[in-house]
Symmetry: C2
Subunit: 356 residues, 2 copies
C-alpha cells in the first residue's frame, strides 16, 4: 500500500469551547485526507494536509453531472482515552458499491481504512467527549474532469473531512414527528437510491421543506412505483415494532443499506426478538398506529444513531406512537449501540476498530 504522507498545519484553529453545545456539521478540524485519481494511473499521492479550500475548474464535472459519492461514520474517545471507529468496514464496502453504481473507480479498502485511521489520529484532540458528542467523519469523492460532455470523469478527488458534532437533532433523544410523503418520490428501483450520492439528497429537499413548514422534522418516503410501500426516512432507515415484531423495509434497490440499520437488525436477532425485513405498506403502518398495535417506531442512521418517532402524519391523519415517549426497544438499541461505540460495552467481533 502507498504510504500516506502527513503535512501538519502551522496554524492550528481554536477548538470549540466546552461551554457551547456542539451542533452538527458546522465546525471542521485542522486537517483533511486527500488522494487523487487519474485514469491509467490510479489513486495517487495519499496525504493528510491542513484543512483547505478546494481549487476547481468551473467546468469540473461534479458541478454539472452530479458524479459524487459520500459516506458518514463516527470516531469516539473511550473513558480510557482509546479512539474507536464503529464498523468502518461497512462504510468502506458501501462506498465501493456506491462508486460502482456511479461509475467512480473503486477505492482500495486498505487505503481507505488507513486513511480513516491516519486523519483521525492526527486530529484526535478534536474528538469531543461530552455525552452525545463524537467526531463525525465524512469521506467523499468528486469528479474533476474539466469537460461538459456526459460520460464518467477520468479524474477524481477522494477526501475525508472531520467535524466534532453533537446530536443531529437539536431535540436529542426526544421523539421526532415524521411526515409520510405521498407526492414527491426520492428514488426508484433501477435508479441511484441505493447509492450514497448527492442526487438522492437534493431530490428530498422539496418534501423536507414542506414537512418542516407543517412542523415535521423528517419525511418518510413511499416507493415510486406503487406509491404504497414504506422506503426510508430522509436521513435514516425506519423500524416499526408491531405486536412484538420488529419490521423494517427490505433492501429493494431503492433504499440506502444503512450501517446502523444492519446493527439494529443484528442486535435484535441476538436478543431473540423476531425481526422481519419485508415490504410494509403505508396502510399496514396506519392500521397498526390506529389500533395501538404499533408499540414503537424509530429511525436509524449514523448521524442520529437511533431516533424515536413520536408522531406519524399521513394525509390529514396524525398518529401518536408510544404516547410520544421513547420506547423500551428504541432506548435499548440506542444505549447498546452508543455503549459499543464508546467502548463501555463489547459488541460483536469487528464492530469496534481502534485507532492507534
Amino acid at each position: 500500500m502507498q504510504t500516506i504522507r502527513i503535512e501538519r498545519t502551522a496554524c492550528p484553529k481554536e477548538k470549540p469551547g466546552k461551554e457551547n453545545p456542539l451542533t452538527f456539521g458546522t465546525i471542521f478540524t485542522d486537517h483533511m485526507f486527500e488522494v487523487d485519481y487519474e485514469e491509467g494511473k490510479g489513486w495517487y499521492d495519499p496525504r493528510v494536509v491542513p484543512y483547505h479550500k478546494l481549487e476547481l475548474e468551473p467546468s469540473s464535472m461534479v458541478f454539472h453531472y452530479g458524479q459524487e459519492m459520500f459516506e458518514g461514520l463516527k470516531a469516539y474517545k473511550t473513558e480510557e482515552g482509546k479512539i474507536l471507529l464503529f464498523r468502518p468496514d461497512k462504510n468502506i464496502e458501501r462506498a465501493n458499491r456506491s462508486n460502482d453504481r456511479l461509475c467512480i473507480p473503486e477505492i482500495p479498502e486498505e487505503l481507505f481504512l488507513e486513511a480513516l485511521k491516519t486523519v483521525v489520529s492526527v486530529d484526535q484532540d478534536w474528538i469531543p467527549t461530552k455525552p452525545g458528542t463524537s467526531l463525525y467523519i465524512r469521506p467523499f469523492v468528486i469528479a474533476t474532469d474539466p469537460f461538459l460532455g456526459v460520460r464518467p470523469s477520468h479524474t477524481y478527488k477522494f477526501m475525508i473531512i472531520l467535524s466534532p458534532v453533537g446530536a443531529y437533532y437539536a431535540s436529542g433523544l426526544d421523539p421526532v414527528k415524521i411526515w409520510i410523503e405521498d407526492d414527491y418520490v426520492r428514488a426508484v428501483k433501477g435508479g441511484i437510491g441505493e447509492a450514497k450520492t448527492g442526487g438522492n439528497y437534493v431530490a428530498s429537499l422539496a418534501a423536507q421543506v414542506k414537512a418542516h413548514d407543517e412542523g415535521y422534522s423528517q419525511v418518510l418516503w413511499l416507493d415510486g412505483v406503487h406509491r404504497k410501500y414504506i422506503e426510508e426516512v430522509g436521513a435514516m432507515n425506519i423500524f416499526f415494532k408491531i405486536n412484538g415484531v420488529v419490521i423494517t423495509p427490505e433492501l429493494n434497490g431503492s433504499i440506502l443499506p444503512g450501517v446502523t440499520r444492519d446493527s439494529v437488525l443484528s442486535l435484535c436477532r441476538e436478543w431473540g426478538i423476531k425481526v422481519e425485513e419485508r415490504k410494509i405498506s403505508v396502510d399496514e403502518v396506519v392500521a397498526a398506529a390506529r389500533s395501538g398495535e404499533m408499540e414503537e417506531c424509530f429511525g436509524t442512521g449514523t448521524a442520529a444513531v437511533v431516533s424515536p418517532v413520536g408522531e406519524l402524519r399521513f394525509e390529514e391523519e396524525r398518529m401518536s406512537i408510544g404516547g410520544g415517549k421513547i420506547g423500551e426497544l428504541t432506548q435499548r438499541c440506542y444505549d447498546t449501540i452508543t455503549g459499543i461505540q464508546l467502548g463501555r460495552l463489547t459488541g460483536p467481533a469487528g464492530w469496534s476498530v481502534e485507532v492507534k
Copy 2:
C-alpha cells in the same frame, strides 16, 4: 436591475486554431459571469470576470447533497456578423422551474438574460463560424454553504461559462445507434427527472457505459413505473415518425422539457404535419420498426440540435430505421432550426435574440 460590472482579462488565452476541428465542451473562453446569493440579501455583485478556478470549502453542500442546476444554449454569428441567441427565454424559464424543484432561489429573468448577453458580448471573438460550430453557453448554479446537515443551502453561486464547440457527436449528422435500456432507470414521476440537475445525469452513466461497450452511442430510457413507456434519450428528447405522424412522449413529470423538442413540435405544426405528444410504449416502437411503418426516428437537444437515429436495439433485437440514412423530416428540422440559429431563415417571433 443591478448593473453587471466587467473586469477584462489582462492575459487573453490563445483561441483554438482554425485547422483543428472543434470538439464539445473542452475549451473555455477568456471570461465568465458570476453572481452570488445569500439568504436575506438575494443575488448580489453580478460580474463578468476573467475565467478562473473556484475556491470552495470541502464541506460546500454541492459536493455532498447535489444541489446544482444547469442549463445549455448556444450563440451563433451570422454571415453579417450579428450575434444571435436561440430562444434564451425558454432556458431561463426552465432554469427557474428546475431551481424551484431543487429548492434553489429563483434567478431574476432580466438579470439572467442580461448576464447571457453581456458575457457573450465580451467574448464574442470566441464564437466560431465554421459550419456546425457555435458558442455553447453553460449557465449553472451550485450550493455553497459549508455545512453537512441536509437542508437547502443558504448561499449559492450562479455562473455562466462559454465553450466554442463543434458537433456533439464526432460522427456529425450520421445516424446514431440507440440502446433501449430495460434495467437501469433514469427518473420517475415525483422525482427530479424534469429538472436539469446533476443527479439525473450521474444516474444515466452506468447504462451509458453498458451501451457504449455494445457499440451504441446513447441510451433510450423507459419509464420507472411500468418499465414500458418511452421517456427520453441520454442527452436528448426523442421523436418517431410512424405512418406520417410525428410522435414524441408527453411531458409527464419525469422527462426533461427540451427547448429543441418544443421547437420541433412548433415547426411540424406550422408545416401541417400531424404531431402527437402522448405515451408511446416500447412495444409500439418495436412493432413499427419491425413492420417498416417507422419512417424516421431522431433525438433533439441543444448540444446536437437534431440527431438522426439509424438503429434501435431492444433486448436481443436490432432494428434499422430508414435504411441507416437521415430521414427527410429529420433533415428539414435540422436545416430549419440551424438556419434560424444562424440568421439565414426567419423563425417564429422571439426565437432569435440579438446580442448587441
